[in-house]
Symmetry: C3
Subunit: 352 residues, 3 copies
């Protein structure tokens, strides 16, 4: 029992065991209410997630949820067990999206501790987990590895020998999936809002997504609460005023969603995020920041089992208070441009 | 290809051709999620849009969407093609609402360029469009003319001879519609929240709607994103700080919605907006403004085919930071009271 | 007819009659959209209200609405008739929750004036009402007494002799209800997010709920508008800047919802609020305040007809800008700790 009584203080580094399996709380039936709020908070306008008619014309049951919305729900569930005492979200890897998520589905999440490594200061350690989101039929909708730096409760607590998992630098294209009954022959450019198909993109091509979106406290907090993500730094100004930044920090996932929504202009036919290879929250974002984004095509690949679609590996860079017409990027010294807040490496699917 | 690569910069004046037909992107399945968010952002409380039971008692399938919510969805779709480079929304005319919109319907929008007129400075021109919103059965839910001032990409670009369409000053009552299977005999004043029926209103009568609603950045941005309206001035503080007003401008349609929601107090039985004759955004609104409204009855008319309902032509004036007990209006010089932000001329339906 | 014309100024003290029955306007079909927005605005994460699958496993038709969400809808409906001219919400008593509310249900509200007492200054009086919320089948979902201080229109208006109703200090456990077809044998702690069941709590036990949630103007206004609550002090900064506090006041019910959402950490298995015995909004809350909460177990009771569940009578205290590790409470002089904003006495149900 802790000082707070039955309230849980969250897990500390020494609470984790290698191979430990954690079933996360609060299953969530996702609904058209979540979809409306997601559009309202991000401005996303991909046709597949916006229109049941469009989705059905491609073989979907109805409009599937935005892949990132499903991602945020699953990540949110893991927070109370994994990262409530996290100092930093260090990375994501090998994130693959599986079964489409439809309004009415109920999502659950579970994690396995796949790596533990105490830091040399003995104050903190890195916890590696593989987390899986499933629907009510037990189908995997999302699967990813994530590592976070977690405080120790007691610096002197003994911990097991370090184990660091071997994680792929990128998801290989053979692991990207799209249900076999999806048929893109009826996909229409005009209705989707972009004339550019998979074949029109070239490796190395860059796109400035042009628009900017200013973040408000209410918007990022509402989004993060919608995902039932309880990480404290997003919500408590009274505590954060004395914290490292003096302000609430925007959930990094909200910045990913804004960048994806902005990327519609130039990537409007990227109808699915199939995988996230890795991502770095280069700098924190705060209310008042205006997010801009640009993308680069890193790789092109066939999509197994689908002649009518291809995969694009993208790098999307988001900045704050910095338009992206000149593609702000790493300098010659390898350090990120000071305005960069996000550097995301992922695979999208696009009709051919 | 533009500097931004595949991102579209929006159309400029010389990109439009008289008679050009544009099918707008991103069909939208409207849902109870949109309805909840609309109530949350406007405070609207008309019984017809709030209660399936009430709606069914009148012959509706379920609660139809607020007419303005449908309007905002359709307008939002037209923005990327029509008004992304607009300097000013100059006007609306001949806006008629058709088939009721229900949760589950999918809305699409198309426009025809019906007029083009270059301004004498050759920097800009006025584009006139007729835009139509349809549901998944192809039924028209909304039809209106709109004209906007759009920048030219190149002042020297040649343009066609000026064509200005002939638009009616007001929708005539014979063009107002209500489905024939709607029966208002079971309409109850108590449940709807107003004792005043069509016969109780007199031409020339004025109503102060009393309440005020303060606009927050988060609220107007969330509403405007919900409509997938991408007009840049609403969202990007980083750019707008150097713009004409130094601030983000509130989507004029949000002000219309606030005025309509406020008008419930005094016009609670105005269960449908049947047409918008014209409207003027007299001045921009910004976060922090408190919107008040008053209305005047301009005309009364029978409703074709419905003995149990009548039409009221209203003028609703919205102000900022100015209560409306004294009906702030044009001065003797014909200039609007400095607090006025909106002057809307429209037809509502009311049970007799 | 008032100065504002057909707009209603709200009822004044002398407008009420003992025994008067008021049917409140604007029936409301509650939807998954409302549920999503409620989660987005409060961060609530009780499994029963979050997951249809979890709810069905216990015998519910689908996830019932959060009891407080139903409460806010019913209270909101009463505002235009009861408390638009209220100076203060003085108290609640004998509030009992009945039939579960499901998405798709339509809620209506009616009130009876059960007490009237003019204050000695003759400027104001106290109105006592019993209000009932019902669904479309006429089943009671909520029933409570409430008293508010209301302005008189005319201090000299004659009023009836004072009548003060006899209200219970607390709902007795025999009046707590849970549908008989609810079976908690399949209730899972892991999925619900708490290892603590009814038997684990002791009278006198205190719990610090640890987290804090900062209120934004946009969040409390959106919540309060969602409930179609029209009390003016929440929405109009232009008027409130000259009011008692110089600021908009947060709807007290929003603070209750935040405290309940925070209480998940320590009371995660309190799956239902069965009754509210009384509550005091000790001090107003404003945007910028960070709400914390702690709870104390006041009483334990069997639940009639249910061997698998028990009732806990809780007192939950919410503070602003004051963490609750030391349980800020009344001082030896009986006066509340200056940070306390809410002191709520209620019954929750928990599986045994």
């Amino acid at each position: 029992m802790t000082a707070g009584g039955k309230a849980h203080p969250g897990n500390f580094f020494e609470d984790f065991r290698l191979g430990q399996e954690i079933r996360h709380a609060t299953p969530r039936t996702v609904t058209v209410g979540d979809v409306a709020l997601y559009i309202g908070l991000t401005g996303s306008r991909f046709a597949l997630h916006s229109s049941d008619e469009f989705a059905r014309s491609l073989g979907y049951r109805s409009a599937p949820l935005d892949d990132l919305l499903a991602f945020h729900f699953v990540v949110g569930k893991t927070v109370p067990d994994i990262s409530l005492n996290a100092i930093a979200n260090l990375g994501y890897a090998d994130c693959r999206f599986g079964a489409p998520v439809y309004a009415g589905d109920t999502l659950s999440a579970q994690s396995t501790a796949i790596g533990l490594k105490e830091n040399s200061n003995r104050q903190t350690g890195v916890v590696y987990v593989r987390s899986t989101g499933t629907n009510q039929r037990g189908e995997t909708v999302l699967d990813y590895a994530r590592w976070v730096m977690v405080r120790k409760r007691d610096p002197n607590a003994p911990v097991a020998a370090a184990t660091v998992p071997d994680l792929p630098a990128a998801v290989t294209p053979d692991k990207l999936t799209l249900p076999t009954d999806i048929d893109l022959s009826r996909y229409g450019n005009a209705v989707a809002g972009s004339p550019h198909r998979w074949g029109d993109y070239a490796v190395g091509e860059r796109i400035d997504h042009r628009d900017g979106m200013t973040i408000e406290e209410s918007c990022h907090m509402t989004a993060t609460r919608l995902y039932q993500n309880t990480a404290r730094v997003h919500f408590n100004q009274h505590a954060e005023k004395d914290g490292r930044f003096g302000r609430r920090i925007v959930y990094g996932g909200h910045v990913i969603s804004l960048a994806r929504a902005l990327s519609f202009n130039g990537l409007g036919n990227a109808f699915r995020i199939a995988a996230i290879n890795g991502g770095r929250h280069v700098a924190p974002s705060f209310a008042g920041d205006t997010i801009y984004a640009w993308s680069e095509v890193k790789e092109k690949a066939d999509l197994p089992g689908h002649r009518d679609a291809g995969a694009l590996r993208l790098r999307t860079v988001a900045t704050k208070d910095q338009p992206c017409a000149e593609f702000p990027d790493k300098g010659t010294d390898g350090r990120p441009h000071p305005a960069v807040v996000l550097d995301l490496d992922y695979w999208v699917l696009m009709p051919r």
